[in-house]
Subunit: 555 residues, 2 copies
């Protein structure tokens, strides 16, 4: 089995057997990957309930095992049957994962913590970037690594600031710990965007001319990216809602609705990348808008299909990434090319990981405490226990880190002329990713149970962290929504003015709901604003079409 | 916009902008394709009910238009933003289409006509292959084309014998004309396998040593491929049913069930290709088995999801293929390289298409009449009107033809040294494909209405072509199934012996049902043999999970 690169996945190799149009190596690679994916699902199901294991770690370990097998079969020539490709990752695997995250996220919880998420995601990532860059600059000289220039030091900071939102999704439960989930996962999405922006900024940085203006430019660039990306995602989502509502696709075919939702979500990602925006942010907000409007405009069958199909595709992509990372880790050529002794590798990896720990601590605790100072109510504050979990759960590094690391250290000047220190950086990044995923991925779940849930068992998990406000809000909003649909009474607006002082985000939510009901939903559809479509039109075929009556009330 | 080849889709190009990890050209290509796909769906929906148009033709025309635009933008340099890749087609686009066809096919109708389908698919394709090969051999000399060798003449026969099952699916309706649908589509699937086997056989043929044994070897090879591919598909389907039934995935997650079904279907295709079998046949039978067993073992949500998700993916792949073919047709380099005058191109294309017409007529009418002679009942016979439609609906040539043509005439000795006659063959194949798809694709639907449905309007379409047998059978099978589950009475077996003489396929069906109920379903699950699983387990997320009670009776 020869070393294949990802090109052979799509490109017909010139070496082809007489009996096949397809090159055997691609088919072998795909067969192995699909067999491993099946194994992951089955073993993952059998391990369900085991709190130490999850599918990410399982896939990583299976990938490592497969790598060892391939290494033995090819007589230590190569462990990979597919090399890591940034295009495969950024174009095909990441978009469905992030889109599904936006599609399934609990919107209320997410927007309630929006300011905290932004603080962590933007300023936190910046602090982490600075700490890691400076740390690398100071410590690497002591380890004897001197070949890296200033730009590469900054790049390492950006690379290692990217937390892994994929593994976080599996470790944290949206039901048990909704507050932590929305903070850590929301931070992960914003953080992905921030670190990619930072990385790109570092790439195009003119090192000889750094001044105060550079920092301002960076900030302006980030804000521009953040808002344009978000708006593009919202526009794409609203467009899909409008098209599906106006053209009433369900009349003919539920499959076209599903196809259009998939294609438009993907198109929004591609357009964002085309315009040099952050596709991740775009597709995330596209997912949120689609779940708020488009999802309510389609037939009952389409709702069930999209919900599960998106989750399934995302699940397969996640598992695929971890398999891929596991298999890629044993790439013998890279280890040989790094020329470093095991001791140096371990020292560098430990240094990097230590900096990750410090870099994250340097922003989680300060930002959480500052945010606590601003909030008046005790129940709204983030206590130390939770700060610790936020710090801990965001330490995992994943595929984004590896992809950025390859981008910086392998393709800069062709694979052949890559220096041994560049290879050392790649192998050490891989060690950090493997270590953090396996160790933190397996410990986090039991840790959360031990630290948090044990103390909160009597209450209904940490969803009750704003008990009085939550109650007040739901009461208030239910009344407000009802009264606004019945009569345009002034009472809610008066009370909203009073509430704006005391509980700003409740008022924002209420005003948004009013705006949504009055202007957005009549145009773009949404819950209660589209006529009920029972199932899809009569569709033949062996798997019979079940009727979906009496379900409107459940949605 | 430079000419991109498909390699850039997955392979990171070495030319990359500072501000992006992904090469812009890939993103442009993907954006254009996804935007065109969206346009296809929307325009297709607006054209719904127009009997001249369908999505295949629309996609083809949109692809052509996009090709013209790209041609103008790049100043006649290139019309393609993606070149046709056999790997992309055979590995990613064809499997979901064929799997979905097997998954949604009406199994009763398909197996009732199984012998006729096999006759058409195997012997028909062989006859067509011989007629076209001999015709090309005799006629091409008169057109002044002499550079082709015997092997290439035979290859043209195999290439043009591959009917297009994708467009057939859109033109024929499984509801209005179930008999024709099952014959023409079933023939299409078997025919794909046959012509690929023929093509491979021709490729590896030792031309200098052809004798009677070669024909026998070819036949033996085909039979081996047919049976092993079918068995592999059935085994993969049964395995998925067994795993999902035994492990009871729905308990934890409906997404894993869906993922496992997708992955195992795809794995069966890959394994078949790895073993040099016909992946198309394998994945088709895998789809049939999955819809008969696996589909009944999963949760209600998974059933709806798989049914619509598979149909959606297949729909997107079909549309993508036609867009691709349309865009690829205007590849200016190929037209320049063929060096033939327009007159020669048209003459060669017309000759090829004439041979396709004759080749198909040479087997449809004889085989249909022979099959009529064997059948005793008048209602079972295929009358001339239907023979004509079978002939007509199978004249379309599609992506398989183009893929085989590229395989034979472009990659045999590298692109640069391809002779002008090889290029002429490719361009003429494209003309035949475009002409047959656009003309026959748009005329077939109205033609069927004019020829068939007008005469059959009073009856419930041509589903009633075996009225007495159908009634008898349904009555008989319902009774048989019930009595066998209640008591092991001897009455059905006695009557089955009598029936075996008069109506063999009814008896086969009855015996199969008995075997299925007694041995297969208890092990692999199936309708009525798995405990009812209401929906999926509690799943959080914004698109709320509707409960699926009271639906068991609908399935």
């Amino acid at each position: 089995m020869a070393a294949l690169d990802s090109a052979s996945l799509l490109l017909g190799s010139s070496v082809r057997g007489l009996n096949s149009f397809l090159d055997t190596s691609t088919i072998i690679a795909l067969s192995v990957f699909f067999a491993l994916l099946c194994a992951c699902i089955i073993i993952g199901h059998l391990l369900h309930g085991n709190r130490w294991a999850n599918e990410s770690i399982l896939a990583l370990l299976l990938g490592l095992c497969a790598g060892v097998v391939v290494l033995l079969v090819t007589k230590e020539e190569n462990s990979r049957i597919l090399s890591f490709s940034e295009n495969l990752f950024f174009l095909y695997l990441l978009p469905p994962i992030i889109f599904n995250a936006g599609f399934q996220v609990k919107k209320k919880q997410f927007f309630k913590n929006f300011s905290t998420i932004l603080l962590f995601g933007v300023f936190g990532t910046l602090i982490s970037f600075c700490v890691i860059s400076v740390g690398v600059f100071l410590l690497f000289e002591k380890l004897g690594i001197t070949a890296l220039n200033v730009k590469q030091h900054l790049a390492i900071g950006a690379i290692l600031s990217a937390t892994d939102s994929v593994c976080t999704l599996q470790v944290l439960s949206q039901d048990e710990t909704p507050f932590l989930y929305s903070i850590v996962f929301g931070e992960g999405v914003v953080n992905d965007a921030t670190s990619i922006v930072l990385f790109n900024a570092v790439q195009s940085l003119d090192v000889s001319d750094i001044n105060g203006l550079t920092v301002l430019q960076l900030l302006g660039n980030f804000l521009y990216l953040f808002f344009t990306s978000t708006i593009l995602g919202i526009v794409a989502g609203l467009l899909s809602a409008f098209i599906i509502k106006t053209l009433y696709f369900g009349r003919h075919s539920t499959d076209r609705e599903v196809a259009l939702m998939m294609l438009m979500a993907y198109l929004s990602y591609m357009l964002a990348e085309l315009l040099d925006l952050s596709g991740i942010l775009t597709v995330f907000f596209c997912g949120i808008v689609m779940s708020h409007y488009t999802w309510h405009n389609v037939t009952e069958s389409s709702r069930i299909t999209t919900k599960h199909a998106f989750a399934t595709i995302s699940f397969i992509a996640e598992t695929f990434i971890f398999l891929y990372v596991g298999m890629d880790a044993l790439d013998i050529e890279k280890w040989k090319a790094s020329k470093a002794s095991p001791a140096t590798s371990i020292a560098v990896s430990a240094t990097l990981f230590g900096l990750v720990l410090v870099g994250r601590a340097a922003f989680v605790f300060p930002i959480a405490n500052i945010s606590n100072l601003i909030k008046k109510r005790d129940s709204a504050k983030i206590e130390f226990r939770r700060q610790f979990i936020i710090w801990w759960a965001g330490l995992m590094r994943g595929a984004v880190t590896i992809a950025l690391s390859y981008s910086e250290f392998s393709s800069s000047s062709g694979t052949s002329s890559t220096s041994s220190e560049d290879n050392l950086m790649i192998t050490c990044t891989i060690i950090v990713v493997l270590f953090s995923t396996i160790v933190f991925g397996s410990i986090t779940k039991p840790l959360i149970e031990a630290v948090l849930l044990r103390h909160y068992k009597p209450a209904v998990s940490d969803a009750t962290d704003f008990p009085s406000i939550e109650d007040l809000r739901s009461l208030f909003i239910e009344n407000g929504a009802e009264s606004s649909s019945q009569q345009e009474s002034n009472a809610p607006s008066r009370s909203s003015l009073r509430l704006l002082m005391t509980h700003p985000h409740i008022t924002v939510h209420y005003l948004w709901r009013k705006f949504d009901d009055k202007f957005m939903r009549p145009v773009f559809g949404g819950r209660g604003f589209v006529p009920y479509v029972p199932g899809s039109p009569a569709e033949p075929g062996s798997p019979a079409q079940p009727a979906h009556e009496n379900q409107e009330n459940n949605i």
